[in-house]
Every structure is written in C-alpha cells, then in structure tokens.
C-alpha cells in the first residue's frame, strides 16, 4: 500500500465503524515545542488521521488562532527539519497516518526530493499546501508521488463544477472540502447550503471527502458526517491546547462519546 492510501483507509475504517473520520489539526510545536510529541500522541490517540501544521511567517489563508500558533512555534525554533527529527525519534509509537499542512515556501526551501524522503521515513503520508493551486503543483506532485506520497487538494464552495472534478481526481488520501469562503478559525457556524455542497463533492470524488473550516462542536461533526466521510478540526483544537485543557477529551466529545 502506498503511503497516501493509508490516509484513505483510515477514514474509510472509521466510516465502516459507523462514524465520520476525525482529522485533528495541530500546529507542530505549539503551545510548547518541548511537548510536541506528547501533544501529537494525545491527539493521535483519538484522531483517525492527524494534520500537522508547519509554522510559516506568512499564513495568508489562516485566521488569528493559527497565525498566533504559527508565530509562537517559530519563536520557539520549530522548523521542518526539527519536526522531522522529532518524528523520527517517535514514529514507532505513532500508528496514526500523518499529513502535513504547509505553505509552499518552507517546502521549496527544504527541497522537494529531500522532503519526500524525510516525510516517508517519518510516517507522513500526504501534504496539504494551501497556497499551491493545481496549476502550479506539477513539480512537487511528481517528487511526492515518486515516493508513494501525495498532495491533498482543497476544494471550496467557490470552485466551479469542471474544476471540482479535476481537483478531486488529482487528490490523494482524501479531498479537503473547505466548508466556507473564508479563512480558518471562523465562528459564524456552518453555512445553510453545506449539505448540497458536500454532496456535490462526494458525488465526483472517488476518495473520502473530509470537511474543514468552522468545525467546533459535536453537532458540527454530526452535520458534516451525514454528507462527508470525515471532519477536520483545526482552530478549535488549537484553542483547547492553548488553554491547557484536555485535548483527547475534547476530541472524544466531538465524536459524541
């Protein structure tokens, strides 16, 4: 099985158990770089897939929470190389498939071939690159796919139908369906026409569809779960970690258990 297929399988396994896949997001090294692996293990104990955010100086698609976590992690010296080193030390303890969310420039600076090698060795299965549209993605896609890794494509309510199909076909692991037109960390709730939108994505996608942006409560996960295979929880979880609260407990509460 290629690495990216582990991601699809993890979400489908959750669905087979009669629940939506849960994909928690954390910013690597936040709130405390020294507790990175501890935090990751705690979150991975509940999540079906874990999305690991690579801090960046210019997080243009993120709201205040992720921006704050990103800047603070950078201050604590977190870098992609540092993250790979920590993951190498700990990977035998983490079975949950990992996906990395990074803006393009840190990946470009690391070098795509090295990136694919280190990611594969560290248990990372796929990448989400929020400032990399499909049209600019060929070079990194080739480097990742050569090692069995993949790019998870984002689709949004603004994505035209023809483009939606193209992006779903190009995606690996799952399709990331952004629920709103906006940045991460919104608190306006999920839009009324969410069901139709998620149905339209699921219809054209052969992969599981995971919905993200604005998911904060068990009711959100339940609402999303009726029309998608999984739910991604980012800013709300980062806020729980920021307050020093029980992250595993919060994630379990989202599953309604």
């Amino acid at each position: 099985m290629e690495a990216h297929e582990r991601v699809s399988e993890a979400v489908r396994t959750a669905n087979d158990e009669g629940r939506a896949g849960l994909v928690p997001f954390i910013t690597a090294g936040y709130p405390d770089a020294k507790k990175f692996i501890e935090t990751l293990k705690e979150v991975a104990s509940v999540g079906d897939v874990v999305e690991l955010g690579i801090p960046f100086s210019d997080p243009m698609a993120d709201g205040m929470t992720i921006q704050r976590s990103s800047f603070e992690a950078l201050k604590q010296g977190v870098s992609l190389a540092w993250i790979f080193d920590r993951l190498d030390e700990a990977k035998s303890d983490i079975d949950t498939p990992l996906v990395m969310m990074s803006y393009l420039n840190p990946l470009l600076a690391f070098g795509y071939d090295d990136l694919a090698d280190r990611a594969l060795a560290a248990g990372v299965c796929a990448f989400i690159v929020p400032d990399l549209p499909f049209e600019e993605s060929e070079e990194i896609r080739k480097a990742l796919e050569a090692k069995g890794l993949g790019l998870i494509q984002l689709v949004t309510p603004a994505t035209p139908p023809g483009r939606l199909k193209k992006l779903c076909d190009a995606s690996r692991g799952f399709v990331y369906a952004v629920t709103i037109t906006g940045i991460t960390g919104g608190d306006k709730g999920l839009p009324d026409d969410l069901a139709d939108y998620l149905d339209s994505v699921s219809e054209v996608s052969d992969l599981p569809v995971c919905a993200g942006f604005g998911i904060r409560a068990a009711s959100d996960v339940a609402a999303v779960g009726k029309h998608a295979s999984g739910a991604i929880v980012g800013s709300a979880l980062v806020e729980v970690l920021e307050r020093g609260e029980d992250a595993a407990g919060y994630l379990k509460s989202l599953q309604g258990s």
């Binding site: 420039n105 929020p130 984002l154």
Partner: protein, 417 residues
C-alpha cells in the same frame, strides 16, 4: 543572481520582454512570477484575468483611463531639468515629476486605472493594502472618483510613521484597518487584505498597489504605470534633445520603477533600480531583496525574497515605509537575472542626505523612498562625469514629515552651493 539563467536563456528572455511577450500565458517572466494563491481565490483570479483581456486594451477603457489621467491625475507630469544639482554632480540631471501627480505620487495611475476596471467588473467594494500610505490615499481617492466603497489595510507600524496619510484616507472616505499581526508593515497588510478577499471573492475587488503578487497583478500594475516611461522618453527627446545615458528609480515592490523602465528596455541606456539598504547588510537590517535575497514564493509569486534557510520570510528595515518589503515584483527579478537592469541599494542615512540636497538645490521635497534613487544616481554621476541622467521622482515627501522631524534639518542659504 544572473547565474539563475544561462547566457542564451537570459538573451532569449530579454528579447521576449522587449517584444512585449512577458508575462507568458502562465503568468511567468521566465522562471519568475506565476500564481500561488489559495483555492478559494483561483476563480477570482481567473475572472480578473478574463476581465483584463476583455477590457484593458479596448478603445472604450483606454479612452476613459487616459481621460482620467489627463484631467483628474494631471498627466503628463512634468520633466524638470535640475540645473544646480547638475552643477554639483557634474552631470545633466532630469527628474520625472510623479510627485506632481494627484495625491502626490505615481500610485494614482494604477489606483484610478484599477478602480475603473473594478467598476466594469461589477465589484461591490474595493480593498487595498498600503505601506507608506500613498497607495491607500490613491485608492481612497480613486474609489471616491468612481463611486465604490474602499477599505485600506495598513500595518500598525506604518500607521504610526505615516500618520498624515491615515487621516487623508479617512477624509477621502476610506475605512482604514490597522493590521496588528505579523510584522505590522506592508507584508502583513497584504496578508490581511488577501484574508479579507478570501471571505468574499466574487464581491470584492482587490486593488493591489505594487507590481507584486500573483499573476495578473504584476502585469496589470505595469500596464497602469508604463505611461511614466512613455512620457519620459518623449519629454527627454523634446526637452533634452535625446534619451538619457542612465535611468534611476527606487524599488520596493517596484511599481514606479517598472513603469519607468519597461518602455526603455530597448533603449541604449543603463537602467538602475535602487533598493533600501537600511542600516546594514545583515538579514533584517535592510530591504535589499534583489541584492541580498534568494528565490522563493511569497504572497502569490515566485520571486526574490528575504528569507532564512528554512524558507521563513524575514522582517525588513528601511527608514521609508514604501520600500520596507521582503519581496519584489517578479518582473524585476527577471530583469536582474537577464542583466538588463542593475539593482543597487542605498542606506537610511544616505537617503536622508540626498533628500536634503534636493530640497536645498532644487526646492523639491521628495519622498524618502524616492531619495534612495538620488543616492545611487549621485554615485554613478561621480564615476561617469558629464552624462545625462534621468531619475524617477516617484513621490513627494510631505507624508514623511513625522519621520523627518526626528532628524534636525541643516539650515541652507539659498545660492550657496
């Protein structure tokens, strides 16, 4: 960084640039440029590109744009001979007076052009970012002119050092949003404007103020400003009797510079862009992106940027808010790589001195951004005596008074040089 391209590639690229073939259909200037934007904005960028194709070069758009440039902006701006500066430098110095354009800088060319385009594309409101505040003021004025609501994002640090412009924007009807995240300067303001655009990509028109960012902005902004270079050529021929031996402009994002340089690429003249050297050559002490940066992706384009080895974009320093930016327009990165344009830097102190010299000798208070170009021009004049020099005087310095009052002025006596 001319090593990025082989000599044959550099030659081919420069020929393509001169022939007007760049950017190519992928928005590239050779290796630079492109469109690195969140998926939510892809349809908005495609609509903008389509709108430009449909409107920009039609007679209808051009006649409206040119009429506004003539009757509202005050174009063509003057070309001024600088006799006393010429005498002191041992050169023949000419100034392209963008400081005389409405609202006090070249920025208004692009602002009114894009505001007209926004109206044609059916935008409900306009957002803009600003560094020195000149683009914010220009956008506020242009939006008032065409009747569109305008919100300007401005870093908290810049709000403090360019206070007069903040008040001007508000009086011209714009809402000014202080950006407290990131480096609190131009880069953070662009990030914040992009975040706002993501929230309503079909209703908002993003009026980007420099020749930076994702395709088609570097192209669009260049087209709006190329009147600077076209007018300069005609005026030099008519008033100076020939083209200049060397042309200078300051470069932050690089909009006034590309406007001046682009129509002169095929001419037999040296072209020199001047970046902010700040207080030194170390990372974080300057904004000399082309002189000291490396290629990377920032805010939508592959270009030269100031970054560390992990690809984290670094904060910059310059006395001038308008040059204080970690990236640069991708077309400038290409022009540097081909060797056609040379990019040098000038420090804070030298820029202040140059500003003072121009006040003293020619009675022109130039912007702190612009004064960087004078530093490099003076140095060039010393090495190349008796030559004809054109300097893009991109803006006036009234908005810099809060900064300038921190540096006591020397008392000049008129007539003593």
């Amino acid at each position: 960084m001319s090593s990025i391209l082989s000599p044959a590639e550099a030659d081919r690229l420069l020929k393509a640039a001169i022939a007007g073939e760049l950017p190519d259909d992928r928005g590239r200037f050779g290796p630079f440029g492109g469109r690195y934007v969140p998926e939510t904005l892809v349809p908005a960028f495609e609509r903008l590109e389509e709108g430009i194709r449909e409107h920009l070069h039609t007679d209808e758009f051009q006649s409206e744009f040119i009429n506004e440039l003539k009757t509202w902006v005050g174009r063509p701006t003057a070309l001024t001979f600088a006799p006393r500066l010429s005498e002191r430098w041992g050169a023949e110095v000419w100034l392209k007076r963008e400081d005389l354009a409405h609202t006090g800088a070249h920025k208004i060319n692009n602002a009114i052009g894009q505001a007209i385009l926004a109206k044609k594309l059916g935008a409900k409101r306009v957002i803009a970012e600003t560094g020195a505040g000149q683009h914010g003021v220009a956008s506020a004025a242009a939006c008032a002119r065409v009747g569109l609501p305008c919100t300007v994002y401005m870093g908290a640090v810049d709000i403090e050092r360019q206070a007069p412009n903040v008040d001007r924007m508000r009086r011209l009807g714009a809402a000014v949003v202080a950006v407290e995240s990131g480096d609190k300067t131009l880069r953070a303001a662009i990030d914040e404007a992009l975040r706002e655009w993501v929230s309503d990509p079909s209703g908002i028109y993003y009026l980007l103020g420099s020749a930076v960012g994702a395709h088609p902005y570097p192209y669009l902004v260049r087209e709006m400003h190329s009147c600077i270079g076209r007018e300069s050529r005609e005026q030099m021929m008519a008033q100076a009797g020939g083209l200049p031996d060397a042309v200078f402009a300051c470069v932050g994002g690089g909009s006034n510079a590309i406007g001046l340089f682009y129509p002169m690429l095929a001419d037999d003249c040296e072209i020199i862009g001047v970046e902010a050297g700040g207080t030194g050559t170390g990372l974080g002490q300057n904004a000399a992106t082309l002189a000291t940066g490396t290629p990377g992706v920032l805010q939508g384009a592959y270009t030269m940027i100031l970054q560390d080895s992990d690809g984290q974009v670094q904060e910059t320093h310059s006395i001038s808010a308008g040059l204080d930016y970690s990236g640069v327009g991708p077309e400038h990165a290409m022009l540097q790589a081909t060797g056609r344009v040379r990019y040098v830097s000038a420090g804070d102190e030298a820029a202040l001195e140059a500003l003072e010299e121009l006040c003293e000798l020619e009675g022109i208070l130039t912007a702190l951004e612009t004064s960087h170009a004078f530093v490099a021009a003076r140095a060039w004049a010393k090495e190349n005596p008796g030559k004809r020099i054109l300097i893009g005087n991109s803006g006036r310095g009234d908005k810099d008074m809060p900064t300038l009052t921190k540096y006591p002025a020397k008392v000049h006596t008129h007539g003593s040089t």
